[in-house]
Amino acid sequence: MPTNTFNRRDFFHWGLQGLGATALLTLLHQDGVIQSAERRSPNFPNFRPRAKRAVHICLVGGLSHIDSFDYKPDLQRHHGQRLQSTERPDIFFGQVGLIRRNDYEFRQRGQSGLWISDLFPNIARMADELTIIRSMVSDSANHTPALFVANSGFQFNGFPSMGSWLSYGLGNETESLPAYVVLPDGRGAPNGGASNWTSGFLPAQHQGVLLRGGNRPVRDLFPARAIPAKTETATRDFLRQLNQMHSERVGENSLVNGRIRSYELAAQMQTSVPEVSNISGEPQSIQRLYGIDNRTTEDCGRRCLLGRRLLERGVRFVQIFSGGPIAGNPRSSWDAHENVRENHSAEAARIDKPIAGLLQDLRQRGMLDDTLVLFTTEFGRTPFTQARSNTVGTGRDHNRYGFSVWMAGAGLKPGIAYGETDEIGWRAAEHPVHWYDFHATVLRLFGIDHERLTFYHNGIQRRLTNVHGHVIRDVLA
């Protein structure tokens, strides 16, 4: 056993390598070729894990909470009035028009009686599975930083996202698929692009891997030009022999062995990725459940079904984006500055059925018991319209002071709503929940103490929750 002080010191610097017990190749560098730490028993879970995997549906552009999951009957009364406030709100365009009532009718749903609007009729039918948080707040009312903070806890580029932290902390349950898979909207990547699923300062294997449609779902999965299958097999075989002879000459070490193993896993990935991506074998009834038979819902439906298949095969974290680039006309995200009714109706039509289908499918397979479903957005939208100060406009600006997200599945109290905004839905009024708290709660559901999932980076033991974060105990089952 190594006994000198340097190694003991290194013992505390385990951060360099990640903790995952089964993380793909963290095992491979263990003899110090890259100055890794000794292995130590996995630190996690710290608590009984309720969730084993998660699917994160990430709405780009800002969903209007007061038109979806946060029923504000008083809005009706305030319709056409001015916002009563002395301070200048930090919104995006700065135009404070008159207050507008909700554009969609709310109804009580299911056994739980949760109020959900007609914007999401299918998701509403799953109300009894949902744990809605109606008092979210964010640091930023700008798209990119707001999306960053929702994903990584920081407004800036370069911090690992939630999926990367989970991959780092828990590793993966399959060796032939990445731990963290990203499924972008068919209309394009969200603002900030790959920075949203970066592993930041965590090692590269924790980065989100983009999975696209088509015959090359992962970058460089197959040769960029056609190579006969026979040659592929022979090449792999030849390479292995070449490496074998090399090992015999220079002696074995983890770097050498690791690379050999990585090619074996690569070959597995070439089989398993197309297999998981091929949803044509799913029964018609399932495809219909996800809305794959319908042109509007097909894009999201395919991704939700693919998400389920990935989770089934041991992927830790699947992220599904709803909304592409922020800019453009017509908009391809939830950024309803001009007209909430038009924009949100179109966007919701794309995802409502697929997401409800996903929930239902997870439930019927028993997966919802240990699968976490997250449904978040960058921020909410203002109860007042984005219009001249004497006008009730049709669009709403960004609202970082209060908005709604929901979770479902593993370890949560289902069919409840947590927190409240004020009577018009402008600010979180009761139990404000910051992203730090949200992230702490997600980690907790995975059995992780958010203060103990750390990585040394440039002077600081970094965390997903920075120096903040309280687990929302009231939503835990």
């Binding site: 190594p2 100055q35 603002n191 790959a194």
Partner: protein, 1009 residues
């Protein structure tokens, strides 16, 4: 910024058992002599366990333990400390009962000390307690190792002196011998030379160098190779890449907009250049902090301070004043944090909201550093160097003189040749009358009418022709008559027959949207064509490839008939076949003539590179006879051959000398012009404001005013810059640079020698090159670190001197083979009993593939090659990697335009950092995605094919010879008999390209032993 109480507890757990080791690492000369027992023994306990709550404005329980008077007064629970009376002292009682500290009991040893202290009469020392005075088990104090002055230690004595090549070895070996270990034997000559090449220049060695050295592996031969590599310009490229990691160099803004920075490369070039010049490190640092000021805004100086602004920059800061201020503070933190970590290994940025939790850096000192850099803003600057301007004038004057001298020398011969031509001309048929004619003998005038031209760019008349450099053109006034039929005619010489798309002569509508033109090789290489808007009237003439136009003037005429027929002529004969197409009229006053440009607006491949000797425009379709007659006209052009034939040998030599001088000046001018009016992404200094401490980092909680200054806990160095709060930006940055680079700043030299060590060996003596504080690593060999740092100072901060020392050490030359005894004791090789094998970094992988494939383009400097599609979309810029083809993309990877968030899978999976923050050490991962990328990436496959072609070219068609050559190029060795057999049969079945691909993927290619 910094963990909460709870986390600190876990830190405590983590570090507590380490206390003993820590004390061992503090040599006695570093502790201060003559200390009061209280200061040394008790104050650290109070500071570590009590003062977080029991001090400050509102101490918990009303008890303040930081000051003598208040501590003895006690708190809400009465007296805390009663000298000599344990039971009366509530401090002790609560500790004894385990109530305090609240979350975790005081360790027994500390509790015993506290008890004894009270029993002994509770004598106080320094008042109030300075919590930074001593290092505790929770944080570093003033006595922290890294903050102590630099002293050059004696070189230790070792038993096995033969193992010592230079003092580095003595320090390492002394420690190894303590553990009954020693160095591994020397690596094989081949492994050594390979290692040296990748390390010093980032490229594999040539097989020849390896062979030569293997035959004669002497120290002298090794040292010669070291000297050669250190002098190579690739050395700067290699080590600049390391530096760019540290300074978070990225060529886009990051954040929401992520706009490209097209002019930051000046900084990258500057780093490469000065590393190649071995600029002393203190100068290197000063230039990056204050180069613009030091050099009077020279191009170099302005480029150098690009360091400060290489990081991310938020360009969407929102509407409110609050958001703007916050963004500015974020920006300054980013700059100060990078500066502190880069040059001092101090994470000063952790003191933005509170005093540093782990290092003796006060919040106020953070804001003093902020004040020092408050004049720094991101921006672009035009650089006009006065010295460059002056030199340009001189060069231009000299060139004019030389041209005139050359003309004088040639004049008699030219006259004679033209006279002879005139005599001939009378016998030729009369040429047709043009509407306009340009002779370009001395100006751009129309010699028939008034359709005079105007030059744009560098267009000029020389030696009887219009000179076009590919960025210039001539345009006439509008033509005052309409065209139906027409003929365009020109005599032209091309600079380069491979150019594509240049317009010789064009009749165009002023917008450029409609045109008919004589165009060279736009659609088909080497062919003349009738260019037109969107090729509407363009078909292939099917004429022969142009072969002469580079050496001889060629006469080209294109005739446009009103029936839509277009006929081309070359040197008076029909060129290919005429064709019939649509017909375009041009109205009066709605068309101009262009020379040297296909159509406006100017740009891209529309420009011609060559010389137009004459041109004619006709408002009718000339007959074949008329064109032939016109082609017979000779210009004033005299070919080089004709001229030389007429010159005497003496004149020829004189003329050649003049031309030679002129060429040199032209080359210099080109360089000067590049340096003259550059836009450089750099610091755009503004008047700094007054800086206040911001309490809790909150921009609205404004505290006291601070003056520019540094960190005071670095011993032997004053942190006061002696400046007023309103000092100028220049004063502030200069003082800051002086403070950082001071000979008395021990961190400055320690940090850089550790960095060099880190890159040479794969791990630093301190494993956290950016953090020499409490949270960082401890030096494995503190004496060696200090010896190296002192040596750097003694060598006038020559980095090259340290490189040389390191790579010529025995430690560096060891084999990388495992030694089971040493491995069992020190698996991580901290004692350096071997050289740790390493995987090539992303850039080295790509560069090596290029070199081995014979495709490496060694062009240095200038704007980077762009292998991403840049798509601006409503303010946000998206970067999508694509796979561009062509030698301009085969430059070394350091010349890649590197926007944040836009990397190819090859760079990505090989851990190339995204430059959002400083990367002092890269993670090294091995993943299946990495394997897939190296196997399947389009670039790799294409290079495998280029590698194949190279082998076929150099080794012929015989498979065993091909295999041998492939191994030599990829591995710098011959294949073994087994490898040869295996590889040959593999090639026979699956082709040579498959072998090349496999070699690129093999361990031996990617791993440096």
């Amino acid at each position: 910024m910094g963990p909460t109480n709870k986390t600190r507890e876990s830190f405590h757990q983590r570090y507590a058992c380490f206390l003993a080791a820590l004390t061992l690492l503090l040599p006695s000369q570093w502790t201060r002599a003559q200390v009061l027992p209280f200061d040394k023994r008790i104050a650290p306990i109070l500071a570590s366990y009590c003062l977080d709550c029991h001090s400050g404005k509102r101490p918990k329980g009303g008890l303040d333990l930081s000051q003598k008077k208040l501590a003895f007064e006690g708190g809400n629970r009465g007296q805390a400390i009663v000298p000599g009376r344990l039971t009366k002292s509530s401090l002790w009682e609560r500790v004894r009962k385990g109530e305090m500290p609240p979350k975790k009991q005081l360790p027994k040893a500390e509790a015993a000390l506290l008890k004894q202290w009270i029993i002994d009469g509770a004598k106080w020392g320094t008042d109030p307690i300075d919590p930074y005075k001593y290092t505790t088990n929770k944080r570093a104090g003033y006595d922290w190792w890294a903050l102590q002055p630099l002293r050059k230690p004696d070189v230790p004595k070792v038993q096995n002196r033969k193992q010592v090549h230079n003092p580095i070895d003595a320090f390492l070996l002394a420690k190894l011998e303590n553990h009954k270990l020693t160095f591994s034997p020397e690596a094989s000559p081949r492994a050594l030379i390979r290692r040296l090449h990748f390390d010093l220049i980032g490229l594999p060695p040539s097989p020849a160098i390896v062979e030569t050295f293997t035959k004669n592996p002497t120290d002298q031969a090794y040292n010669d190779i070291v000297a050669h590599l250190l002098a190579s310009s690739h050395h700067g490229e290699r080590w600049a890449r390391h530096w760019l990691d540290v300074v978070r160099y990225g060529e886009s803004d990051g954040f929401e907009r992520n706009n490209p920075r097209k002019n930051l490369w000046h900084y990258r070039d500057w780093v490469i250049r000065v590393l190649n010049d071995d600029m002393p490190y203190d100068r290197f640092a000063k230039m990056q902090i204050t180069g613009d000021i030091l050099t009077n805004d020279s191009h170099q100086g302005v480029a150098a301070v690009g360091f400060l602004v290489s990081g991310v920059h938020n360009t969407v800061v929102g509407q409110s004043e609050r958001m703007r201020k916050l963004a500015r503070q974020d920006e300054l933190e980013e700059i100060v944090g990078t500066l502190g970590q880069t040059f001092l290994g101090l994470t000063v940025n952790c003191a933005r909201c509170h005093d540093h939790k782990f290092d003796p850096i006060r919040q106020e000192e953070y804001y003093r550093l902020i004040a020092s850099l408050d004049g720094v803003f991101h921006g672009e600057r035009s650089v006009n160097s006065p010295t460059v301007q002056k030199r340009i004038k001189t060069v231009n004057r000299k060139m004019t003189q030389l041209r005139s001298d050359i003309a004088t020398t040639e004049r008699p011969a030219r006259l004679a040749i033209r006279q002879a031509r005139k005599a001939n001309r009378n016998r030729k048929p009369q040429p047709p009358e043009p509407l306009a004619a340009w002779n370009f003998d001395k100006d751009y005038k129309d010699s028939v009418g008034k359709l005079h031209g105007k030059p744009f760019g560098n267009a000029k008349i020389h030696n009887g022709g219009l000179i076009l450099d590919g960025r210039s053109h001539v345009e006439t006034k509008r033509i005052d008559r309409a065209f139906r039929e027409k003929t365009l005619e020109a005599w032209v010489i091309l600079d380069d027959l491979n150019q594509r798309g240049g317009g010789v002569m064009s009749l165009q509508k002023p917008t450029g949207a409609t045109f008919d033109a004589i165009v060279y090789a736009e659609r088909e290489p080497h062919r003349w064509m009738a260019g037109s808007d969107s090729f509407r009237r363009t078909r292939s003439f099917g004429g022969p490839a142009e072969k002469q136009a580079k050496t001889n003037p060629v006469h080209i005429a294109i005739v446009y008939r009103s029936d839509g027929t277009i006929i081309a002529y070359r040197n008076g004969r029909t060129y290919g076949k005429p064709y019939k197409t649509g017909f375009q009229t041009f109205e009066a006053n709605d068309a101009t003539i262009l020379f040297g440009l296909r159509h406006t607006p100017p740009g891209g491949n529309k420009f011609l590179r060559g010389k137009i000797l004459q041109a004619r425009l006709y408002d009718r379709a000339l007959s074949a006879e008329a064109v032939a007659a016109s082609a017979g006209i000779q210009s004033d052009y005299v070919s080089e051959k004709q001229l030389l034939a007429k010159l005497s040998p003496a004149t020829k030599k004189h003329r050649a000398d003049l031309i030679n001088k002129l060429a040199k000046l032209e080359a210099e001018l080109a360089k000067l012009n590049k340096a003259r009016s550059n836009k450089v992404y750099s610091v755009n200094p503004r008047n700094p404001g007054i800086t206040n401490v911001l309490l809790r980092g909150d921009i609205e909680a404004v505290g006291k005013i601070v003056t520019p200054g540094g960190v005071s806990s670095i011993s032997g160095l004053s942190a006061d810059f002696g400046l007023k709060a309103n000092a100028s930006d220049a004063e502030r940055r200069q003082k800051l640079a002086e403070w950082i680079t001071s000979q008395n700043n021990p961190l400055f030299a320690r940090v850089i020698v550790n960095r060099l060590w880190h890159y040479h060996f794969g791990a630093g003596l301190v494993k956290t090159p950016n953090d020499f504080g409490f949270n960082g690593g401890r030096p494995s060999h503190p004496q060696l670190l200090d010896w190296l740092a002192s040596e750097l100072q003694r060598q006038n901060y020559s980095l090259r001197a340290i490189h040389r020392l390191i790579v010529t050490s025995n430690a560096y030359r060891q084999s990388s083979r495992k030694n089971s005894k040493a491995y069992a004791f020190d698996a991580n090789n901290r004692l350096l009993w071997r050289y740790s094998p390493r995987r090539l970094e992303a850039e080295a992988v790509r560069d090596s593939i290029l070199q081995v494939a014979g495709q490496l383009n060694r062009e240095m400097g200038g704007p980077g090659f762009v292998d991403v599609e840049i798509r601006p979309n409503n303010g946000t810029t998206y970067y999508t990697p694509f796979d561009p083809i062509g030698p301009q993309f085969h430059r070394r990877t350091i010349y890649r335009f590197s926007p944040r968030g836009g990397r190819s899978s090859l760079l990505d999976t090989f851990d190339c950092p995204d430059a959002c923050a400083t990367t002092p050490r890269r993670s090294v991962t091995t993943t299946p995605l990495q394997a897939l990328s190296l196997l399947n990436n389009a670039f790799v496959l294409r290079m495998a094919e280029n590698f194949t072609k190279r082998i076929e070219r150099e080794a012929g068609a015989e498979i065993p010879l091909q295999v041998k050559h492939a191994f030599r190029l990829a591995y710098t060795r011959n294949p073994t008999a087994r490898e040869l057999k295996l590889a040959s049969s593999f090639v026979r079945e699956h082709g040579l390209a498959s072998l090349c691909r496999a070699l690129f993927n093999s361990n031996e290619f990617i791993i440096v032993e």
